[in-house]
Symmetry: C2
Amino acid sequence: MSDPIRISSDKMEEVLTSLFLKYKFPKAKAQLLASTYTESTLHGVFSHGINRVPLFIEYIENGSVRVDTEAEKVESFGSIERWDGNQGPGIINAVKCTDRAIALAKEQGMGLVALRNTNHWMRGGSYARQAADAGCISILFTNTQPNMPPWGGKDSRTGNNPFVVSIPRKAGHVILDMAISQFAFGKINDYKLRGKKLPFPGGWDENDELSNDPERITLKERGLPIGYWKGSALSIILDMLATLLSAGDSTFKISQKPFETGISQVYLCIYPGILKDQDLQQRLINEIIDYTHNVEPMHPGDTTYYPGERSAQTKIKFKKEGMPVSQAVWDHVLQLSM
Amino acid sequence: MSDPIRISSDKMEEVLTSLFLKYKFPKAKAQLLASTYTESTLHGVFSHGINRVPLFIEYIENGSVRVDTEAEKVESFGSIERWDGNQGPGIINAVKCTDRAIALAKEQGMGLVALRNTNHWMRGGSYARQAADAGCISILFTNTQPNMPPWGGKDSRTGNNPFVVSIPRKAGHVILDMAISQFAFGKINDYKLRGKKLPFPGGWDENDELSNDPERITLKERGLPIGYWKGSALSIILDMLATLLSAGDSTFKISQKPFETGISQVYLCIYPGILKDQDLQQRLINEIIDYTHNVEPMHPGDTTYYPGERSAQTKIKFKKEGMPVSQAVWDHVLQLSM
């Protein structure tokens, strides 16, 4: 691999906006897509930022993502709403449903939008941040295509179903953005390209044994759930909640499609601002951060972070230095935008 | 260890009811405590069933658990309420707050009760089942005393914070009831007593290395979070949510007390019945179970279960055969009740 080139966030947004305009998105949507992909890259999540843009374009071209639709409300009861994504772009649907969950939470204390028939939201942390910026706690999750075996089973039949939580904080939001797999396949591929072993087992090899060898794990896509049987159960539960609340497609149904599309998601916002004392709230969160953060390291050089801290640091660094983008990826994106 | 004796659920409830009456609980509360401890034992969770009763009595005697108080509402906004447990028994407070979250959900679609200043709820699955029996989805969690290091840190500063979800289902509710630690310390002690190694690493040894040796892990109580850094972050997030929403004590504050008391919990119920089509809902859940269940095993003899399936099977078995209770534990409980 050649050295990455440095791209500024302004430049990336500009190029991506013209790319999405070329693909017939109206201006506001093209800008929203461009800024979301750029923000994810700025936070260091290349796999769901700039590196993912060519696949998004492919999904538009194969009809999985529709350019001319967006999510709309189907049903509502109290603080719960069911929305249909109408196969629109996952990012645009996610922003809209997060906004709606925020609005419901501000009216009623909590708001839940269950969204079916949408597409990959890319980085769930984007919408967690959106909710936190609005002063809301958020709990968001999505199902996916199958990529992990249910514990005890041989084949991948459950998804890595990202689970995302945000807690607003003045000195930097606390944001957990985790897939239920121990390692993303993108990460496993990075280790493979570098000829390294994973630090812990990450999936099963061709002999059905747990392995930390990325070469062998990638022979079959069978990722290890976090906590073995526990993550397997959590993944199944998240699929059930998303499918049930949205009356949408489960990982099973998604597995029957040629592409990962028409997925199901949940956006829950909680508005603790109504519980009055902002100072108390900040003090309570900071008390936990102070206790668990910058503590005596387990091994020399170890550091503890609060959830979301590292990606926030990455953003500051990349904003200053530019984002280290693969030359091949950037060339591909430029070519698509012409 | 001598062979366990067999106790019927009727017998256990009778003995426990008289025990709790002796400790001055009014009749209805004594019965609720007795049936909850018995149900947990019936589901195979001895550590938070019958085996835990002597410690509960100790907590009454040392003043951590107050017999004469129960949870009451402090504040409310829309579908969110803050309750204070007044140091009452965790089980009784949990049942009351779950009932309230169910009622809110039935009125408003969702209901959240954040409870502070309560005591150990024993088995979270009890309240998940209570919600599911009422037709509600529930998401429940609690903080605890510190028993796992935050990832990268040397000392235990975060709790194993059980996370519990239920989804109502006619043919048997789906119930996830998991601590964020890979293994409960009770389980690690079982392996130690049997002179066996854990099947996977479960904590750190005295040299700060991950270990599957229960002897060495129990030298210092430093449990491994599920998914390493991921579970560490999830545990911190759950502590923040419980502390913030209840304006209660965090794991940090709990660590400063001589006993694990005055903890913080969240009871969220979602009532999907309002989304009308019961048949559709059952079909959607069963579709996921059918896909992930009784599949080709990874290794000969492996079985996959849906969350909650095994404990439901255990209950049927123990209801028929009696519960295998340690003679020493039973004698201790009998002695306390006299």
